[in-house]
Symmetry: D2
Subunit: 350 residues, 4 copies
C-alpha cells in the first residue's frame, strides 16, 4: 500500500497518521521525493479497508499495490490450469462443449438429448434439476428426480453431468449426481456456498454475476481456491447494462481480460448471454474467436415446449450447423473442437 500525503500537511497530522499506522500494526517507511511525501506499507493485510486512511486529515490518496486475490492470479501461477473430468481434459487447447436443456423435464427428454450429444462426441451434458426462478409462480425444477434422470442418461451415454447447486442445503444431494458443480450468476457472491465449494473434490463452474466486476469474479474464485479446491472454471454469461434490447449483454471482451489476469479456464454461455436463439451462433463464434476455453450451450429437441428458457435454446440441427463453422474457426485461432461434424454441414474450403 502506498499513502500519499497532502503537500501542505501540518506536523500534527503527520504524527497522527504515523501513530495510526503503528496502532494498526502496519510497517511503514516514509520518503520525501521532490516535494511529495509518500509512505509505503509492506505488510498490508489483504482485506485492509483503505477508506480508514483515506478519511484521515493530511492524506491525499491511498493506493493498493496488490490485487485482493492471490491464488486466482497469474502472478501466483503462470501456466494455465488444466484438469481432467473422468478422463476429459479441461482448459487445454481442445475447446470443451457443455450442452443440454435448461432444465431436466422428463426421462424421455433427457435421454434423447444425451443420445444426441453422445452421437456428436460431446462429453458434458448440462441440465438444471433445481432452478432459481425470478417468479415464485414459475416451474422450479424436478428436484432430486431430475438429478437421477440426468445421471442415468449420462451414465448410459458416457457423459459428464454439469448441474447447479442453488443452495448449500442441496450440496450433498447434488454432489451425488454431478461431475461438475455449477454456481449460478445470482450465487456468485454467496460466500457461504463458495466456502463449501472450496472443500469439494469436484470441479466448480463459477458463473459471473450479472453485475460483477471482473475483480469480484476472481475474488469469488479465490474463495473456492483458498478452501483447497483448485478445479475452478470461470464462465461469462452476460452482464447487465443500460440497454434492455437483449436479455443480457454477453461480455465477450471479458474473456481476453480474464485470461491476462488469471490462469483459470474461461468459458462462455451464449444462451443466457443473449436470451434469443438466433443470437447464440454468432456469439458462440465470437467467444471462441476471443479466446474462450469452452462453451455452455442450451439445446432442446422441442424448445417450444420447454418448461424454461425455450426461446434461448437451439435445436440439435442448429448445433450441428453452428459446429460446422465453429470447428474450423477454432483451428484458425490455434484450438481444436472434437465435435462429430455432420455431412450436410461439412464445409468444403478450397
Amino acid at each position: 500500500m502506498i499513502i500519499v500525503l497532502e503537500k501542505d500537511i501540518v506536523q500534527e497530522a503527520t504524527l497522527h497518521i504515523i501513530g495510526k499506522l503503528h496502532e494498526l500494526g502496519l510497517k511503514n517507511h516514509a520518503v520525501h521525493l521532490n516535494g511529495q511525501s509518500i509512505i509505503t506499507v509492506s505488510n498490508t493485510p489483504v482485506d485492509f479497508d483503505t477508506r480508514v486512511l483515506k478519511l484521515m486529515n493530511g492524506i491525499k490518496d491511498v493506493f493498493e499495490v496488490s490485487e485482493p486475490y492471490k491464488l486466482a492470479s497469474k502472478s501466483w501461477k503462470k501456466e494455465p490450469t488444466t484438469f481432467e473430468v473422468n478422463g476429459t481434459p479441461v482448459g487445454t487447447s481442445v475447446i470443451n462443449l457443455m450442452a443440454g436443456p435448461c432444465a431436466v423435464e422428463s426421462e424421455e427428454q433427457i435421454f434423447t438429448m444425451a443420445e444426441f450429444l453422445h452421437s456428436r462426441n460431446v462429453k458434458f451434458i448440462r441440465g438444471g434439476a433445481y432452478k432459481p426462478r425470478s417468479s415464485p409462480y414459475s416451474f422450479q425444477g424436478l428436484g432430486k428426480e431430475g438429478l437421477k434422470m440426468l445421471r442415468a442418461a449420462a451414465d448410459k451415454y458416457d457423459l459428464n453431468v454439469v448441474t447447479e447447486v442453488v443452495d448449500l442445503s442441496l450440496l450433498d444431494e447434488v454432489s451425488q449426481y454431478a461431475d461438475v458443480l455449477q454456481i449460478g450468476t445470482r450465487n456468485m457472491q454467496n460466500f457461504y456456498l463458495l466456502a463449501e465449494m472450496g472443500k469439494q473434490n469436484k470441479p466448480v463452474l463459477l458463473k459471473r454475476g450479472m453485475q460483477a466486476r471482473i475483480q469480484e469474479w476472481l475474488m469469488a474464485a479465490e474463495y473456492i481456491l483458498s478452501g483447497g479446491n483448485e478445479q475452478v472454471i470461470l464462465c461469462e454469461r452476460g452482464i447487465r447494462t443500460f440497454d434492455t434490447i437483449g436479455r443480457n449483454t454477453l461480455d465477450v471482451s471479458a474473456i481476453p481480460i480474464v485470461k491476462e489476469l488469471s490462469h483459470l479456464p474461461v468459458f462462455s454461455d451464449p444462451s443466457h448471454g443473449t436470451g434469443i436463439r438466433n443470437r447464440v451462433a454468432p456469439m458462440s463464434l465470437a467467444s471462441v474467436a476471443a479466446g474462450a476455453d469452452g462453451l455452455l450451450i442450451e439445446v432442446h429437441h422441442n424448445p417450444d415446449k420447454a418448461l424454461s428458457d425455450g426461446p434461448q435454446s437451439i435445436l440439435p440441427a442448429q448445433l450441428d450447423e453452428l459446429m460446422s463453422q465453429l470447428c474450423p474457426l477454432a483451428n484458425v485461432v490455434g484450438r481444436k473442437l472434437d465435435y462429430q461434424l455432420q455431412n450436410s454441414y461439412l464445409r468444403t474450403e478450397s
Copy 2:
C-alpha cells in the same frame, strides 16, 4: 397479454399462431382494428415467457398487461402496510430508525451502543453476527456468540434486534435471537432463502440487490409475501452505476417510485449507500425528504477500530447532530421522528 401481428402476415402464419395459443391453453380473442390485427389473451400465466411468442413468424410484438407481481402491488392492496414489532409500529407516519454497528465485535461495544440508542429513544439496534465479505481473508463475524451478545444488549435496553440471515442453514439460529430478519443485497435473489422467509412469523427487511431493477425487487418481496409472511420492509441501499467515485450510488429516486407501485414500507440505508461517513447525513435527509419510512444507519463508538465498514459508520455525536436536522425535516414533510434530541443540537426555529 396483447399480441400484435405483422401487417403483412400470411394466413398460414396466423393459423400457426392460433394453434400455438390453443396448444398452450391460452384463451384468446382476435380483433382487426384499423389495419392492425391484435390478439388478447385473458388467462396468461403470471410467469409466461413472452419470448416464446415473440420468436414466431408473423408476430410483431407481445406486451404484458399485468405486473409479474401481485401481492406486493398497490392494485392488490391500496392502503400502506403497517405492523408492530413488539409494540413499535412500522410503516406509519412515524419514521423508524434502526441503528448500530456494522458488525457485533464485543460485549463492551454492543452494550455501549445499546445504552446510547436507548437513551435516544431508538427502538431498533442493528448489527451483523455473520458477515458476507467479498474477501475470504476478511473478518467474517462473531457468529452465534455475536447473536447472543446482541440479544442480551437489546434485552437490557428494550430494543428490537435487526440482523442478517446470510444463509438458509443459519435461519433457525438467527431467528432465535432476532426480531427483524435482514436479507442482504447479495441474497435478494436467493430464492430458496426468500421462500423460507415466507414461512417465518417475523418481519423481513429486504435489501435491494445492488443491481436489481425495481420490478425484480418487488418480485423478491412477492416470494416472501406469497409464502404467507406479510411483514416485509423494502430497504434501498445503493446501486451500482458507471461511476466508481462512491462505493455505491444511493438511489433516492427509487423511494417515490416504489411507493407508487407498492404498499410496503420503504427504508433507506445511507451508510452502505454512500460508504463514506460524511455523506451519511445529507443522504439521510434526502431519503426522508423523498418519502422514506425508515432509516438504517451504521453508528460506532470507535469507528477507526471497527472490524468492518468503520469508514461509513458515524459517531454517536454525529447521529445526535443529524437528528437535530432530521426531526424538524420529518415534520416539514408531514412525518414524525421520535428521537430524544440533545440540547446542544436543538434548533430554535422562530
Copy 3:
C-alpha cells in the same frame, strides 16, 4: 505520478523504464522501500496517458496523484464560488429557483408563465428555443422567434433568462437574449462548444452528461474555467442506469460528492431527472436536503398541450404546493428560499 515496479524486475527492464521516463521529459526519483521499488514523477503533464507506462515490462502499476482538473477543484479554491446575475446572487445560502416551460411555445404561454413566476418572486425563467430531440420528426423549437418572446417576457417581468445553446453556430444568437447559457446533457463533452463557453462573459449552467462520471463533469467545467469564465453552475439532471422504470435516475448522491470536490454551485433538475410530474416534488425536496444550491423545474400552465416534455412539467399550483414544503425544509438545512408562498399552502408549524 507514482510508478510501482514489479518485485522480480530485471535490471534491463529497469534501465529501459528509466530511459523511457528520460525520453518523455519526466523528472523522476526512485526509492527502494522495504522490498518495493517505487518511482515518483514530479512534473507529470496533466493529460499524461498512464497506459503508456502501464504497458511496459516490469511496471506493476501506475497511480495518478493529482486530479486531472485544477481550476474546478477545492484544492485550487476553497471558498464556494458565488456571483451575481443582474443583481441576483447565485451559490450563496439562498437557494436559486429556475422555472418555466420545457420549450417556448407561444407569446401567450411564455408571458403567462413569466407573470406567474414574477408574482412568486422567482428570478429566473427557463425555456428552450432550440430543442435537441432524439427523433428527427419531433418539434424542434421556435428558434429565434422563441428567444425573442422569452426575452420580452423576462424583460417585462424582471426575470433572468436561462436557455440552451445547442450548437456553437447558435452561440452568438442565443447570447443576445440569454442571461445564463445552458449546456445540455448531450453536449457536456462537446469540447468545441465548451471551449467557446470559456470566452463568454455570462454564467454557464453545465448539465451533467447522462452517462458522465463526476470526474468527467468536473473536467468539462475545467474547459470553461480554463478559458477564463469563472461563472459555472453544475446541474445534476439524472443518469442512466440498468433500470428503465424511470426516464432517468436523478443522482441525488452526486450533490454532496461534488460539493466535497469542487467550489462550484451545484443545482438539480428533478424534471428531467424523473420524467414524471408526480416525482418532481419528492426529488426537489431530496435535492435541497442533500445540499443543492438551486433547482431547475419545468412548470407549464397546460402541460397536456405542451409541445415537449409535458408529462414532466408541473402545474403552477403544484409549484406553490411544493414550495410550501421546500421553503421550511431549506430553513432546516440552514438555507433560505425566497419564494412568495401562497396562503393556502402556508404551513402552520406549532
Copy 4:
C-alpha cells in the same frame, strides 16, 4: 399505439380519455375483449410522447407498436445497404478495413502509414486532425494542416480518407479532404450535426455513443437518412458499464442485434473498444465472427511516441499477424478480407 384501460375504470374517465384522443387528433377504435378494454390508435405520430396518456386516470398502460425509426429499419428496406467509396464497395461480403493512427501527427508519420497500408491492399486510412479530448490541456490535433497531410498521403497511395467532424463549424473544411465523414461517440446525439450530415453526399461513419441504447443509435442514423443521405455506416466502439477494468466494453453482442434490426452496415472499432493494444486482436476476431462488416483499427509505427492513444495502437507487424488469422476466419463465416498477407504469417492449414 395500443392503450390498455384499467379494469375498474369509471365511465367518466373513459369519456375523458376518448375526449383527449379526439383533441390530439388520434384516430381510435375501442374494443372490449374478455374483460379488458383496449383502444388502438392508427395514426400515432412517430414522436408521440406516450407519457401524456400514461399519466391519465383509468389508463393502465400504453404500448408503442412501431419503432421510432423507419428508414434505418429492416421493415423499410430488407436487403443490406451497400455503396461504393471511389470504387471500393462497403457493406458487401468483403469485409472493409479502415486503419491508421489515432491522430495525424506529421507528414513523415502519415506517409509512412499510408505506404504501409497501400502495400497491404488496405483501401481506407483513418486519422484525426481535430481531436475531441476530455482534458483542455491535451493535444487537440493539427487541424487543417493535418487534413492536408492526410489527403496528400491518401492521394499518393490511392487510399480513401476517413476522418472525424468534431463540430458543425468544421464540416465544410473536413468535407474538402475526407471521403468518409466520421461522427464520434460524444457527438452521436449532436442532432444539429446529424441533420447536416443528412445533406452531405459522402458516406458517414456513425460511432455508437458510449452510453447509447441500440434504438437511440438507430434514431441517430435516422436523422442522417431522413435528410437524404443513405450512405451510413454504424460503428460499435465500446460502451460504458459498471466495470472499469477496461477503458470501454466493446459490445460485440450489439453486432448481431443491429443486423437483425437494420439494413445498414455495422463496423467495429476494437481499438477504442478495448483501450489496450493486446486486446485488439482477440476483439477484432470476435467482431468478425459475430458478423461485423468492417473494422476500424488504430495502427502506429511508433505508438510509444504517439501524441494520443498510443497504448491502444498496434504496430504494423501486429496488424500483419492479426490478419493472418482474420482472413481465414472471415472465410469460415462466409466472408472475405482482401489483405495482402505476409509470408511469415501465412497459415498452413492441413
